[in-house]
C-alpha cells in the first residue's frame, strides 16, 4: 500500500493552554443574547403580500391594461421566452451562448388562457354578454384575436381609461373580457382561480406572480421601498431593516454601465452576463490559494503582522 503522501505537519513550537469548548460555549451565549436583544429591539420586517384583489382595486387601469396585453401576447410573461414560452431567438446570451434557450421551455405558461380566458370560463353564472364574448373569442382565429387585443391595448394606452370607447368591431370581445376579469379580480375570486388552476393544494405561485408582474403595480410598490433593481434593491429590505448585504457585488454590476444601459448588447443581456461574472468570481474566490499574484496580496500588504503582532514582537522573522 502506498504511504501517506502528505504527512500532516503539526506545530512543534511553543504552545499554551486553550479551552476551545469553553470558547464555543461563551460564543454561543454571546450570540444568543445578542440575537434576543436585536429581536426585542428591532423585530423583523413583514410587509403583507399584495393580492390580485388589491391590484385590481387600487390600480384598475394597470390591471385592465395588463389583462389586455395577455390577450395580444405583448405582456412580459407572454413574450418572455424560455422557460415559459417558446419564442425562437429569445433568451439572454453570454457572448454567443444562450443558456436560457438551451435549458428550454420547462414551465410552459399560456398567459392569455391561464390569466384571462380560463378564469373567466370558471365564472359560476356568467352574464350573457360575457358568455357571448368568450364564444366570440374562442371562434376567432389567432390573428383576429391578436388584432382585437392589440387595438385595444393601444387605445387603453392612449386614453388611460378603464374602458376605451369607440368602434366596437375594432376591439371585438376584448373590452367585455377585460372588464369582466376586473370585476372578478376586485371580488378576490381571481386570486384563487389563477393560483389554483385545477388543484386542491397550492404551493406554486408561478401563474399569480407572473400575472402580477405583467402590470406595474408590483414594481411600483417595490420602487417605493427602494427595492428596484437599479436602486441596489437586491440588498435592500422593506422598511429600514438590513437586507442581503452579501449580495453587494452582485447588485453592484446592475448600477453601472454598460450593464445598466439596456441599449447596449451587454445591458440587454445584463442578467446573464452578471450571472456569468459572478460565477467566474466565485470560482476565482474558490481558487485563491492557487492564483499567482492574488495569493501573494496578503504578503504585500502585511496586515498579518497586526493580527499576529504579539507573536512577532517576541519572535523576529526567521532569516532577518
Amino acid at each position: 500500500m502506498k504511504s501517506r503522501s502528505r504527512e500532516i505537519v503539526q506545530w512543534q513550537g511553543p504552545s499554551k493552554r486553550y479551552d476551545i469548548v469553553k470558547e464555543f460555549v461563551v460564543a454561543l451565549t454571546v450570540v444568543a443574547i445578542l440575537t434576543l436583544a436585536l429581536s426585542a429591539l428591532f423585530s423583523s420586517p413583514d410587509e403583507p403580500s399584495l393580492t390580485i384583489k388589491s391590484w385590481a382595486n387600487t390600480s384598475s387601469e394597470d390591471f385592465v391594461l395588463a389583462a389586455a396585453t395577455e390577450l395580444d401576447g405583448s405582456s412580459p410573461s407572454a413574450s418572455y421566452g424560455p422557460p415559459y414560452v417558446a419564442i425562437p431567438g429569445s433568451g439572454q446570451k453570454i457572448g454567443p451562448v444562450n443558456l436560457q434557450a438551451l435549458a428550454g421551455v420547462r414551465t410552459p405558461v399560456n398567459s392569455a388562457n391561464a390569466f384571462v380566458i380560463d378564469p373567466l370560463r370558471a365564472w359560476p353564472n356568467p352574464s350573457s354578454s360575457l358568455t357571448f364574448a368568450l364564444g366570440a373569442w374562442a371562434r376567432a382565429s389567432p390573428d383576429q384575436q391578436q388584432q382585437w387585443a392589440s387595438a385595444y391595448v393601444q387605445a387603453l394606452g392612449e386614453t388611460k381609461q378603464l374602458k376605451a370607447t369607440g368602434a366596437a368591431d375594432k376591439y371585438g370581445p376584448v373590452p367585455e373580457l377585460t372588464s369582466s376579469l376586473l370585476v372578478m379580480a376586485k371580488s378576490g375570486a381571481l386570486d384563487g382561480v389563477v393560483a389554483l388552476g385545477s388543484n386542491f393544494y397550492q404551493t406554486n405561485y408561478t401563474h399569480s406572480l407572473l400575472f402580477m408582474g405583467d402590470g406595474t403595480y408590483l414594481e411600483d410598490a417595490a420602487v417605493k421601498q427602494n427595492l428596484g433593481g437599479d436602486q441596489s434593491g437586491m440588498m435592500n429590505e422593506t422598511g429600514s431593516y438590513p437586507g442581503q448585504a452579501w449580495l453587494w457585488l452582485y447588485t453592484f454590476w446592475y448600477q453601472i454601465p454598460p450593464f445598466s444601459n439596456e441599449a447596449t448588447t451587454i445591458g440587454a443581456n445584463a442578467d446573464a452576463v452578471v450571472w456569468g461574472i459572478m460565477m467566474l468570481l466565485s470560482l476565482l474566490l474558490l481558487l485563491v490559494p492557487f492564483l499567482p499574484g492574488i495569493r501573494s496580496i496578503p504578503r504585500w500588504i502585511p496586515l498579518y503582522r497586526i493580527i499576529w503582532r504579539q507573536w512577532y514582537r517576541n519572535h523576529p522573522m526567521p532569516g532577518k
Binding site: K16, A40, P45, D46, P83, D271
Partner: protein, 215 residues
C-alpha cells in the same frame, strides 16, 4: 508498534478499515478536541469562526421552531414574529461573522501549509449559505418574497437555472430551504472545522517550518 499509534497506519484492504484509518488517522481525540493551541493563536480574529458556528446553531434552532408551526404562523402570532426575528437577526450575525472570518483568513493567507482545501470548503460554505438565505427570503410568504421571486427569476432564467429551480414555486423553495440546503451548509461546515482540527491552526507567515524557532 503500539495499538494506539498504528490506528492511522494499519494497512488493510477492508473498506471499513480504510475509512477508519482515513478519518481517525488524521483526527485522533487530542487533535479533535485539543486543550492546547500554538502560542501564536492570540487575536480577536480567531473568534469569528466560532461566532459563525454559534450563529448557525441559533439559525437552525429558530428555524426548527418556525417549521414546527408552519410557514404562515409568524404573520399572525406575536410569538411567531419574535421567533422569526431571532431567525432574521441570527442570519445577519452569521453573515457578518463569516465575512470578517473570510477576510481574516485571507489576510492571514490561512491556506498555507496544505490548508488550501480548508479555504475551499470555506468558500463553498459561503456560497451554500447565500443559496440558503436566498430561499429563506423566498419563503417569507409576504411582499418581500413576491418581489424577490419576481426579480430573481430573470437572473436565474437568463442562465437556464430557472428551468429547474423555479423561484415562483414557493413549495420548491420551502423544501430546499428547510431540508437540502441546511443539510449541505451543515455538512460543509462540519468538514471545514474538521479540516482545521486535522492540520491545526496555520502558523504566522515566516514560521511555516513548524519549529517555532526564529532562525
Amino acid at each position: 508498534m503500539s495499538t494506539t499509534k498504528s490506528v492511522g497506519q494499519t494497512p488493510s484492504t477492508l473498506w471499513t478499515a480504510r475509512l477508519r484509518n482515513k478519518f481517525f488517522g488524521g483526527l485522533p481525540p487530542e487533535r479533535l478536541l485539543p486543550d492546547k493551541q500554538p502560542a501564536y493563536v492570540a487575536s480577536w480574529i480567531y473568534v469569528f469562526g466560532v461566532l459563525t458556528i454559534a450563529s448557525l446553531l441559533i439559525i437552525i434552532a429558530s428555524g426548527v421552531w418556525l417549521s414546527f408551526e408552519g410557514p404562515l404562523w409568524w404573520h399572525t402570532s406575536n410569538v411567531g414574529h419574535f421567533v422569526n426575528s431571532i431567525h432574521f437577526w441570527s442570519v445577519q450575525l452569521f453573515f457578518f461573522s463569516m465575512a470578517i472570518h473570510l477576510w481574516g483568513k485571507f489576510w492571514m493567507s490561512a491556506w498555507r501549509g496544505g490548508r488550501s482545501r480548508t479555504w475551499m470548503t470555506g468558500v463553498l460554505a459561503f456560497l451554500a449559505s447565500i443559496g440558503t438565505a436566498f430561499t429563506g427570503y423566498l419563503v417569507q410568504t409576504n411582499f418581500d418574497s413576491q418581489w424577490i421571486a419576481s426579480e430573481a427569476k430573470d437572473g436565474l432564467n437568463s442562465v437556464g437555472i430557472g428551468a429547474w429551480f423555479n423561484v415562483l414555486n414557493v413549495g420548491q423553495a420551502l423544501l430546499l430551504h428547510v431540508a437540502a440546503l441546511p443539510l449541505i451548509v451543515g455538512l460543509i461546515t462540519i468538514i471545514h472545522v474538521l479540516q482545521v482540527r486535522r492540520r491545526g491552526v496555520v502558523p504566522p507567515v515566516g514560521f511555516e517550518d513548524s519549529s517555532g524557532d526564529a532562525a
